[in-house]
């Protein structure tokens, strides 16, 4: 069957027997009204869903806060590691050693002068 033949499908009705059956089906299930518990039941479901959404929102909020705190702590730790304490020397090992040797020489010179 080609597409052209298929397009007027809506105009090609179902056989009378099936149409009658569908009509009888429609009659057997008329519009119906809800029971007295319909609205309370609906609102209970709405409230239940709201609670889930609220709990999830709170959980997500707590998660974001915890992530923020962890980020701040990690940043602080990294900054501390990169910046040495105030008393620590900024000089290289050779400079410190040279300074130390210079001090020792000065003390040695002072001791020699006292002996003289």
């Amino acid at each position: 069957m080609t597409m052209k033949e298929m397009l007027p499908g809506d105009e090609r009705p179902l056989p009378g027997e099936i149409r009658e059956l569908f009509h009888a089906y429609r009659e057997s299930l008329p519009d119906m009204d809800a029971s007295a518990g319909f609205m309370p039941g609906l609102w209970a479901k709405i409230d239940g869903r709201r609670r889930v959404v609220y709990s999830f929102g709170r959980l997500a909020g707590a998660f974001v806060t915890a992530a923020l705190v962890i980020c701040l702590l990690l940043s602080g730790t990294l900054l501390t590691l990169n910046n040495p304490p105030a008393g620590a020397s900024q000089s290289s090992y050779v400079d410190v050693l040279a300074d130390d040797t210079a001090d020792a020489d000065f003390e040695f010179q002072l001791a020699s002068a006292e002996k003289l």
Partner: protein, 196 residues
């Protein structure tokens, strides 16, 4: 539908939402009953429809599309129900529906009149017939052939072009005809159509 009422419901006015539900409840429940064919589960599915409505009202932009949109929610809820039902039936073939149990009980007590028996038979026959096609075909056929919706209305609900809809309808009709032939071959009683 009054757009102001929808706006009020969107802004959290519960009485406005209740009013919307009251306006459409009966019609939506009737449509669900015919889509799923099980009167005992209609309220549950209808509550699901209005629950979806409540939490998606913000997405509605214009009042003109409210009704097709509500129908779309109804179709989706019925579709979900039918899929769950099919899975349940596959796993527990021998179980009777609640309605069947109640009816069998009532019949045993001689409390069911001839009309009710006829209606039940019609529902069973259509259920067998539509059970032979997919849930998508079932819903499309019920909306068109039972609910009597026009192609224009279906276009809005399905959000597809007319030609695509015609093709889908054509194929659904072909499949239901095949299911009808198969049901006849299997010896399904045809007396359901004859008034008792």
């Amino acid at each position: 539908m009054d757009f102001e009422l929808i706006q009020r419901a969107r802004s959290g006015d519960d009485s406005a939402f209740n009013q919307i539900v009251s306006t459409y409840r009966k019609r939506i429940m009737g449509t669900i009953a015919r889509l799923i064919g099980r009167p005992e589960d209609v309220e549950d599915v209808a509550q699901d429809v209005f629950l979806r409505l409540y939490f998606s009202l913000e997405q509605l932009r214009t009042p003109e599309v409210f009704e097709p949109w509500l129908y779309r929610l109804t179709v989706n809820a019925a579709y979900d129900y039918l899929r769950k039902q099919r899975r349940r039936n596959e796993s527990r073939m021998s179980d009777l529906s609640e309605e069947q149990v109640l009816l069998a009980d009532a019949m045993a007590g001689g409390r069911v009149d001839a009309d009710e028996q006829h209606r039940r038979k019609v529902r069973e026959t259509v259920d067998i017939l539509l059970g032979g096609v997919s849930e998508e075909d079932r819903i499309l056929l019920v909306l068109k052939e039972v609910e009597g919706l026009s192609l224009k209305e279906l276009e809005k609900i399905y959000n597809v072009k007319e030609n695509a809809l015609k093709v889908r309808l054509f194929r659904a009709r072909q499949r239901v005809l095949k299911a009808h032939e198969a049901a006849q071959d299997a010896g399904t009683p045809r007396t359901a159509l004859k008034p008792t």
